[in-house]
Amino acid sequence: MAISVLIPFTFAFEPLVALGLMAGIYNGAMYGGAIPAVLLRIPGTPAAVATSFDGYPMAQQGRGGYALQVAVVSSSIGGIASALALMLLAPPLARLTLLFGPSEIFWIAVFAMTSVVFLLGGNPIKGLISAAFGIVVSLCGSDIITGYDRFTFGHLELLDGINIVVLLVGLYALPPVIDLLQKSSSPDASKASELNAGSFWANLPGMRRFAKTWARSSVIGILVGILPGAGGSMAAFLSYNEARRDSTNPKDWGKGEPEGVAAAETANNADTASALIPALTLGIPGTAVAAIMLGGLLVHGLQPGPMLFRENPDIVFGFMWQFLFGAMLLIFLGGSLATNNFARVLLLPRPLLGSIIIALMLIGVYSIHGRMFDVYLMLGFGLVGFAMDKLDYPLPPVVLGVILGAFAEQNLRLALRIGRGDWSILWTNTASVVLILLTGAVVVGPLVMRTIRKWRRTKNIQGE
């Protein structure tokens, strides 16, 4: 979002300066999305949804400042890992991208959906209804394979589908604002006094315990980043899920576990630079933001593709260094200056805070395409979100449905087209088989583990 607004500004600069600015915006926006996600449960980007799972409960317990500190360090580490991957591994990783055709991409989407079913939590029926709603929303728009318009009701604005940001802002931002305005007009003094989490630098050494999560989430983020079309939100969901599965106290997750914030934020920043690997080397944008950045390169006369590294190494490697320094700077700027100040937002009187958020929502959604239609759509989703909130329907499955639903459907149909209707195309290549086995492992794995554990326990008892 920020990047598409700001990119025209970069056109006036020298290429390297412009690219540095883009890299900085990209990195900063990924962390910036975490701030409202933690403080207000309003994710600034789709990738920050997973951050709000534990970040918001932490803020409610008065540990919002600490949550933001964890988020900024994790973001920075994810960004650094990703920039290093871009610098050192770009050519071999780019070749990996080419292995993924429609059938493989379909299986990736299935794998991601299967893995995050665990995120549904609570009432599985309600979770599935939420996911189904998300999938229906994702199907809206012109179908690329037959050309028919689906659920557009004659509106040109719906032909390209519903922009995820419109949905996200409505669904996530409006209900908390309504809640905010319903409560008393003075800020919650008791929580506010606990806001200050102590010095960032004093807390830093204690965060070493997240090292394992940082490493795992970085790898997940980098790998998801190079896959076409997946993007930061999938990286964040998958790594949150993996971290929880590995945790010794999975029950505390979703109730304010700082490690959850670390997992989500590391992964959604680790996909930033790695999404540029296929973009720079093959001209394939891994995410929407990478696509915009490709355009930015083109404006400066830099043709993305295999020749870029050979013809303009100074610019390509300069760009990578900028990514690395940008990620490092994030710790200093985001960490020491801003984090506690952002948390002070909560000290504002509620009516003021609520009105500011509503104004920002309206402006932000309007500026995506410059049209009021999206604003009305966002308000409509806001009402749906409010109803879902009151009826205890979980919101994350909606986001997943929107991101993965049409993505899986289109790639399945493309694969079947390529196979001329023969379903065997879905399992006749190695990459697909590997993905099917992984998906199977996710489903059967926990069952098998439980059976083995039970079997061991009964054996032990018998032994005694």
């Binding site: 598409s4 990119i7 025209p8 056109f11 991208t97 080419l98 292995l99 993924f100 055709g101 429609p102 690329i144 394979i145 037959t146 050309g147 028919y148 318009d149 004659g154 040109l156 604005e157 032909l159 390209d160 076409p228 079309g229 296929p278 093959l282 001209g283 394939i284 944008p285 696509a291 915009i292 950045m293 490709l294 355009g295 930015g296 083109l298 404006v299 006369g301 043709q303 993305p304 593709g305 295999p306 020749m307 870029l308 395409h369 410059g370 049209r371 289109q410 493309l414 087209r417 390529i418 001329r420």
Partner: protein, 316 residues
């Protein structure tokens, strides 16, 4: 009071008169771009904008406004419905804009516009992956004849230039391919590079730098292109098809002759500027100018072709 009102009326009248007499342009010219910042059409508009300002002269200021959505249809509708005073112009993509008048309800027709200049002509190319055993156009046709439908062909979208190319190719050679529409050109190119489809249709600007993984069999232009100098034209292969993606600029219908002339002159001077040509080469935009009436005729020819395709093989 009465005197005041008269004075106000008089000054208002004077203002109107001076507005009519004043040299165009006396305020910002809005250039509506139907796609997001950073896309091919946007890059073209932003490359051209400073030159256009320079050649309109009089301190003209052209402001680019991105109105993405419905593959450019939202912006082009706004141009058609704008005041024809020369302060609203827009980008125009063929065959898309005309194809939309057939496959959807559009609030404009071919007569809704003043055709200023078509600047980019990006011919289609027929490609296979470098790893493929198909290395020539003749071989591709042969294999398609031997087993109709066995060859999968990736394109970006239905009702676009590559889809029309696909249909024209099938018609001209009496063959059958399996159409695989990926929705946009980047994933199409990726699928071709990875060998996930047997062949594909792209535009010549999209293959620069990809010689190691994509083999270009033929180009659908009159002459061979500087972007692919050694590639034979379809015509030289005995297939009489010329097709591609066109990008230009239009204003609403009913522009005054004076303003139309001024804008067309500015576009011609822009096009003749070697600096502009270099900038377009740097951004991989194959240029070809069709001005005013030529552009209108080009548009009509595209519409006729789209109608023929729509009647014989509607794409939805």
């Amino acid at each position: 009071m009465n005197i005041f009102r008269t004075a106000m009326f008089a000054s208002a009248a004077a203002l109107v008169a001076s507005a009519a007499l004043a040299e165009y342009p006396e305020r910002d010219i809005e250039l509506l771009v139907g796609f997001s910042a950073g896309g091919g059409t946007d890059v073209m508009a932003r490359t051209l904008e400073p030159f256009l300002e320079k050649y309109i002269g009089d301190g003209a200021n052209v402001v680019i406004k991105n109105i993405p959505g419905a593959s450019g249809q939202i912006a082009v509708t706004q141009v058609a419905e704008a005041e024809p005073d020369g302060y609203t112009i827009g980008t125009y993509n063929l065959p898309g804009v005309m194809a939309r008048t057939l496959d959807r309800e559009a609030d404009y027709t071919a007569d809704s516009f003043t055709y200023l200049a078509n600047v980019v002509n990006d011919p289609n190319v027929i490609v296979t992956p470098q790893s493929s055993s198909i290395t020539s156009m003749a071989q591709l046709i042969e294999e398609a004849e031997a087993d109709p439908g066995a060859i999968t062909m990736g394109i970006s979208g239905l009702g676009g230039d590559d889809h029309f190319m696909f249909i024209a190719l099938e018609d001209a050679t009496a063959t059958d391919f399996t159409l695989v529409p990926f929705g946009s050109s980047a994933p199409t190119r990726t699928a071709i590079m990875g060998g996930h489809v047997a062949a594909g249709i792209l535009n010549v600007s999209e293959i620069a730098g990809f010689e190691e993984s994509i083999r270009v069999l033929a180009i659908a232009s009159e002459e061979s292109s500087e972007y692919a100098p050694d590639v034979p034209t379809l015509k030289s292969e005995g297939i009489d098809v010329v097709n591609g993606s066109l990008r230009g600029f239009v204003a609403p219908e009913g522009l005054s002759e004076e303003v139309e002339q001024k804008l067309m002159d500015a576009f011609r001077q822009t096009f003749d500027d070697p600096e502009f040509q270099q900038a377009m080469r740097d951004t991989s935009n194959p240029t070809r100018l069709s001005l005013g009436e030529d552009f209108r005729m080009l548009n009509n020819a595209q519409l006729e072709f789209a109608k023929r395709v729509w009647e014989t093989s509607p794409w939805k």
